[in-house]
């Protein structure tokens, strides 16, 4: 039986409204949200230690625009725009200027989604994906097949709630 919902995202998300909407339907489920974090890291730190029979995970893969880095003893999220050419000379701007490129971000986002979703599927987690992967170009046939039934129509809260009801989580 699902006791906890974990919402994890590497970008921004209005998780307060999502929490409120879920609790309007079922207020016994506890909800934990981790946004603006590397999903790879959060899954290892926060999801794997849980009893997987009691949790439901919502994976919110962000589009280009967020990059996590360890800085001054903590992880920070760097928001970037690949077309921004007005970058300054401070450290964070230099990170954007030097190491965040379209090619590498495309590979990183694709591989993150491919590996994490496969990990969830292989290990029989209860999970859903809160967007349509419009920005991704994954061609792996198994991935395209098993994710079909797990993706909400859009990453709008109404569609996420709809999918959770469909999957009988709430």
């Amino acid at each position: 039986m699902i006791k906890y919902i974990y919402f994890i995202s590497d970008g921004k998300f209005d998780y307060k409204t999502l929490t409120k909407r879920i609790h309007e339907i079922n207020n016994t489920i506890q909800i934990q949200c981790f946004t603006e974090n590397s999903l790879n890291r959060i899954v290892y730190d926060k999801i794997i230690p849980q009893n997987k029979n009691e949790i439901f995970v919502i994976l919110d893969f962000s589009n280009f625009g967020n990059y996590e880095i360890f800085h001054k003893n903590k992880f920070i999220n760097i928001e970037y725009n690949l077309e921004d050419e007005t970058l300054e000379n401070d450290y964070i701007s230099k990170i954007k200027k030097n190491i965040i490129g379209y090619k590498s971000e495309s590979i990183r986002l694709n591989n993150q989604a491919l590996l994490l979703c496969t990990f969830f599927e292989k290990n029989n987690y209860n999970y859903m994906i809160s967007n349509m992967f419009e920005f991704l170009s994954i061609k792996n046939k198994e991935f395209l097949s098993f994710t079909k039934s797990k993706i909400s129509k859009t990453n709008q809260i109404d569609d996420i709630i709809f999918k959770m009801k469909e999957m009988k989580v709430i």
Binding site: Y91, K94, N98, I99, L114, F119
Partner: protein, 293 residues
């Protein structure tokens, strides 16, 4: 039916130490052994190719200095190729330990590699070693270095490389990667359990570990680390990469493992067939000639 054996790893798999085009002394030491003087042929995948003949094609995708992040990228790329057939391929992995971190360089439009050492507090403090290719011509290195802001990368490593994070990321990325291979029914073997490096191997609990004997510690190609270039050149060339004899032993063992698993339908080979003394004698003669000049 298996057609391709694909190897991924570090310099130990690439054939490190045998960059003959850039190392004339090494070339002179290994002449007259009846072996093609190429890095591939002197690597254990190259030696395995000789044992397999034309029936199987061995691809050596390993690269000196690089680590696991490159392995994940390249394997996912290969598996995602439209014409890829899993039933025709076997993958072999020599995973790396901490100490290797790749970054993308927008200036080079390619990945660059940082080799780092963390201090007792867990942070990078010394100057970093940053490179795209260890074995290339001087003019290419100078051109690439002129495009890279070394001070920035130095600061980046000192700020962001921390032992716990790096340790955790090696563990979780390898877990996700191995599960991806298993879910997709990819044929693979792990050639090193990392126990010689740290506790990482114990945490991950690698499946499909290839055995190189029955004794303790035999689940790794590094069982043959005594057969290094330093050993077979009697200290004339100091290099802890596998020597030709070490690479032959590894190739024979992999070949026999593939026979045990009915991938190769031949008779097992006896490692006594490796003409170790003949190789050592020829190397010794070559070294004496060089010393006499």
């Amino acid at each position: 039916m298996i057609k391709f054996l694909n190897f991924y790893g570090t310099s130990f798999t690439e054939g490190g130490g045998f960059e003959f085009d850039l190392k004339p002394k090494t070339k002179a030491v290994y002449e007259n052994i009846d072996e093609d003087l190429t890095t591939f042929n002197f690597s254990y995948p190259g030696q395995l190719q000789k044992l397999c003949g034309d029936s199987l094609k061995v691809n050596n995708y390993a690269k000196s200095g690089w680590g696991n992040e490159r392995i994940y990228r390249m394997v996912i790329d290969k598996i995602s190729e439209p014409n890829f057939k899993k039933e025709e391929n076997i993958f072999f992995f020599e995973f790396s330990d901490l100490g290797r971190k790749e970054y993308f360089s927008k200036q080079l439009s390619d990945y660059v590699l940082v080799n780092y050492t963390l201090n007792e507090n867990g942070y990078q403090t010394d100057n970093i070693s940053l490179i795209k290719d260890y074995f290339t011509t001087k003019d290419i290195i100078e051109y690439e270095e002129s495009l890279i802001d070394f001070d920035f990368y130095d600061k980046l490593c000192k700020n962001s490389l921390f032992s716990k994070n790096q340790y955790d990321s090696v563990i979780y990325n390898t877990i996700y990667f191995i599960d991806f291979l298993k879910y997709n029914n990819i044929n693979f073997y792990v050639l090193d359990n990392m126990k010689h490096h740290s506790l990482i191997g114990n945490r991950i609990g690698f499946p499909n570990l290839m055995r190189f004997g029955n004794e303790v510690g035999s689940q790794s190609i590094f069982k043959f680390s005594n057969f290094d270039i330093t050993y077979e050149t009697e200290n004339y060339i100091k290099d802890n990469h596998f020597g030709l004899i070490g690479n032959k032993y590894i190739a024979y063992n992999i070949y026999n493992n593939l026979i045990s698993n009915e991938i190769i339908l031949e008779k097992k080979l006896n490692t006594k067939e490796i003409n170790e003394n003949e190789i050592l004698n020829t190397i010794s003669k070559n070294i004496n000639k060089l010393l006499a000049i």
